[in-house]
């Protein structure tokens, strides 16, 4: 009996081994690191597929930067440099022209681009304006589920002068017309997609999707988005514009690319002194990634994988075998308050938005409540304890940004001020020291503040600290965690559903320099005066939960400034407006800013030009062609 079982099991095992093995390629070069002149990078976010059309920026931006480059890119100091383009368009070089006004309805913004002569796809085909036109066609096609069209919908036309010159015309202001990854309005990732590769696939998929009785979404998914150039099943089909050529992808394991000799940007000195091959390995758990770094299996790590790890500890452990770079992430961790309370006004008018009982009872709509809470939290000790290297924030804009307002109220830890504000609001000490008050309709309510967030380690720590801090002012704190898939779901994230009625914690991007328009105001604007719909950005059932304003804060003055900033092309004037908005934010506190997060990357000693630097750089992979080992003659490029 046992013999039979054994035999069957071993047979199964052999089959499985053979099966598993058959999916691995055998044409790799052996060994790693400086000896082989390659680099192995650890990351914890694997892209779902490689197509340039859709997907989340977190998972896609890093790896796709190996195989693609946009019209422009940011360097580690936040300078915008030309990528596929010969120069970055600006009003001063005459490549950007603006005429008319939004109000008059005749606004037009034209941007001239010239593609580099030597810009080629990784299969040797020239990159031309044909690719640009095709990319726009796909991006705007109704059957293609690209996730957002904010910028492409404002494109009126693209005029191609010749194979290398084209002009994009917008019908509303696009402040970030030159920013990489989707802001131009072309492909979601890295602007331009290869027409000669995608066009036959696209036409066939559209035809199949439009056939009678076809399930269009499934057909597009399977035949277009999942086609070989995106899925990587056929390495030769993956064609990109970037410094490396796609070579291999073992899902759940690694992606490998090899250096392109015909790439138009060159590192200083001979190209053979720099890494010839890049392998990005994916790790699901931070601990595994950490173990691999400590055991020396990795040459470098990306900017997302080590979030929350203490850089001091990592430096201590790595000693002089590797460098740890700490850089601002551009993200501010915030506590958003439910603003769904009764008796709200907007620009002097009463407004009709949902009301949540708990938020209303706790007077969360009154700015004094929020001011009391921010002063009751010891943010100075919270920030370093929760997120090593983090700095306390008082704004929705990150420190160092051109629009950052340095004159804001710092809200230092002040228990007495907090208690005084709460007393003003009618709260008196009740049972067990928890505050209580009588509502207008005669009920006695206790100050039990609910807090929802995801169970990420640093957020759980925040909850635990807040609990202790808030007890000191008589607020009973009622935290709950939901998996990210639940917390960020429609049903949950929008306060208008009253699924959370106290505070919710997440991070928002906080720069204005070159980030997209909606992040300009920390997603806190409420109503677009140009549209007929009410409260466009306040997600609720009536507008199918669109918009990023989850707490429901609405302030007409803030909105006015937001739209003023949106059509202000002069960066200094725009920065002045943003500073004004921060004053409103800082007084009203629709969200309590906790701290600015930091990111860390590691690079083994000897690896040069692997750096992230600034928050706008977005990825440490921005200059992948310059990576190299000093042992092999590579030199610092900048």
């Amino acid at each position: 009996m046992r013999k039979i079982t054994l035999a069957v099991l071993s047979l199964l095992l052999l089959v499985a081994m053979g099966w598993a093995d058959s999916s691995f390629s055998h044409q790799l070069s052996a060994r790693l690191g400086p000896q082989q002149n390659n680099i192995v990078i650890g990351a914890n976010q694997e892209p779902d597929q490689l197509n340039p059309w859709e997907g989340s920026a977190d998972t896609k931006e890093n790896v796709t930067a190996l195989f693609n480059i946009g019209l422009t890119y940011f360097d580690n100091e936040g300078n915008l440099l030309p990528g596929l383009a010969t120069e970055v368009p600006s009003t001063s070089n005459g490549r950007v022209r603006i005429s008319g006004t939004v109000e008059a309805g005749n606004f037009r913004q034209e941007v001239d681009w010239t593609l580099r002569d030597n810009a080629k796809w990784s299969d040797g085909v020239d990159i031309t304006t044909d690719d640009v036109l095709f990319t726009l066609e796909v991006q705007q096609h109704q059957l293609v589920p690209v996730s957002f069209r904010t910028f492409s919908n404002t494109i009126v036309e693209i005029k191609a002068k010749d194979k290398k010159n084209f002009t994009i015309a917008y019908n509303s202001p696009n402040l970030f017309f030159a920013s990489p990854t989707g802001r131009v309005g072309l492909a979601r990732f890295y602007d331009i997609a290869p027409k000669h590769v995608w066009e036959p696939i696209f036409r066939a998929a559209i035809a199949a999707a439009q056939a009678p009785g076809a399930d269009a979404a499934a057909v597009i998914q399977a035949q277009f988005l999942g086609a070989a150039p995106g899925s990587g099943t056929n390495p030769n089909a993956v064609v990109g514009s970037g410094p490396y050529k796609f070579a291999e992808w073992q899902r759940g394991q690694f992606i490998r690319g090899t250096r392109r000799v015909d790439f138009f940007l060159a590192p200083p000195g001979p190209a053979q002194n720099y890494v010839q091959e890049v392998i990005v390995r994916f790790f699901v758990a931070t601990e595994t990634l950490q173990a691999a770094i400590l055991s020396g299996e990795l040459d470098a790590s990306d900017d997302i994988g080590l979030a929350g790890v203490d850089p001091a500890v990592l430096r201590g452990q790595l000693g002089n075998t590797a460098n740890v770079e700490v850089s601002p992430s551009g993200f501010i961790e915030q506590l958003h308050f439910s603003q769904y309370v009764s008796g709200r006004t907007y620009g002097g008018q009463a407004i009709n938005l949902p009301v949540c009982q708990v938020a209303d009872d706790l007077l969360l709509g009154d700015p004094r409540t929020r001011q009391a809470i921010i002063q009751a939290i010891n943010r100075e000790t919270l920030a370093p304890t929760v997120f090593a290297g983090a700095i306390v924030s008082n704004s929705f804009v990150v420190r160092g940004d051109v629009g950052f307002n340095t004159e804001l109220n710092q809200y230092p830890y002040n228990l007495d001020a907090a208690k005084a504000l709460l007393a003003q609001l009618g709260w008196t000490p009740g049972p067990n020291g928890v505050l209580q008050r009588k509502t207008a309709d005669g009920r006695t309510v206790l100050f039990r503040l609910p807090h929802a967030t995801t169970p990420a380690g640093f957020r759980v720590r925040t909850q635990e600290i807040l609990q202790q801090d808030l007890v000191a002012v008589g607020i009973a704190y009622d935290p709950s965690n939901q998996p990210a898939s639940v917390l960020f779901s429609n049903e949950f994230i929008y306060g208008s559903n009253c699924n959370w009625q106290g505070i919710i914690e997440f991070a928002s991007a906080g720069g204005i320099g070159e980030v997209p328009a909606d992040e300009l105001s920390g997603e806190l604007w409420a109503d677009d005066p140009r549209s007929t719909a009410a409260f466009d950005n306040v997600g609720r059932p009536e507008n199918a939960f669109a918009g990023g304003n989850v707490g429901g804060w609405a302030n007409s003055e803030y909105d006015k400034l937001h739209f003023q900033a949106l059509s202000e092309f002069d960066i200094d004037k725009r920065a002045a407006i943003i500073r004004q908005m921060q004053v409103i934010y800082n007084t009203e506190l629709p969200s309590v800013p906790l701290y600015e997060r930091v990111e860390l990357i590691t690079a083994k000693a000897g690896l040069v030009n692997y750096t992230k630097g600034s928050a706008v750089t977005r990825t440490p992979f921005w200059n992948a062609w310059e990576w190299g080992w000093t042992q092999n003659g590579a030199v610092q490029a900048r």
């Binding site: 904010t150 299996e297 998996p483």
Partner: protein, 322 residues
Amino acid sequence: MFAYLVRRALQIIPTLFVISVVIYALLALKPGDPIDELRRGNPGFTAADYDRLIKLYGLDKPWYVRYWYWVGRAAQGDFGPSRRFGMPAAQYVFQYRLPNTLLLSGLSLLIAFVIAVPTGMLSALRQHSLFDYGVTFVNFIGVSIPIFWFGIMLMYIFSVQLRLLPAGSLQTPGIEGLWPIIVDRARHLILPVAALSSLQMASWTRFMRSSMLEIINLDYIRTARAKGLPERLVTVRHTMRNAILPIITLVALAIPTVMSGAVLTETVFNWPGMGRAIFDAIVVNDFNVAMVSLMFISLLVLLFNLLADIIYVIVDPRIRYD
């Protein structure tokens, strides 16, 4: 007997149907839909985008309608595309995940079985010996250690401190040649297999021991011994055959559980298997992938249950199904 088995086999179909309804309903009723994931990574997502996408994905229909479409296509072998990976969900699961899972869980179960059965037997035959106490103690450790914690400890010792073995993953990228690849693969397998097999090994040894002990004390064994049969024969023919009975049920039941339940080990050791695939698919609302893998696991469970019943009949002739 044969009729009974055929009946049992046929029962699998309606059971599977019920399971598919339950899972589909649970997935659909869970908060969140595939659009959430798209919106989260994309600032500037508008109401129009949401409307357009929800229609495009057919999510505007109620779940039972969608289930009906799904089951219609699934019956023809089409499990729909993975929203996330842009390839057929079945291809993703069976080509990229299943082989890894078979390798890891197959090896773990095999090793657990091969070690557990003789150890449990010996331990029972030499009850109250030092060996018995040693085995019992090790078993207790095996069933008491949280599996992910054990994995991390192994990793901490063997890859961080001693630097002997790789810290997870399937393979080292960039190894070539058949033999080096096998060696590399084996090195990567040691820690996850050790972690994954520990629990099964311990509990099987324990059960093997206890069912051996039970049988040793039965009258017919005493009779066999009294008849003067050689001890070896008594052990192998009379005791072992009967003692192995509960273990076989356990093994059959453990196979699918280990395949889907290895998510902790897979997470710690970065092993791209089915457990993690299912977990991720549910987290990011990639329904087709979740459905196809959950249905596959369910089918396996049902088949192995049937197998356990068959083995019961074969091994224990006293059981009759009429």
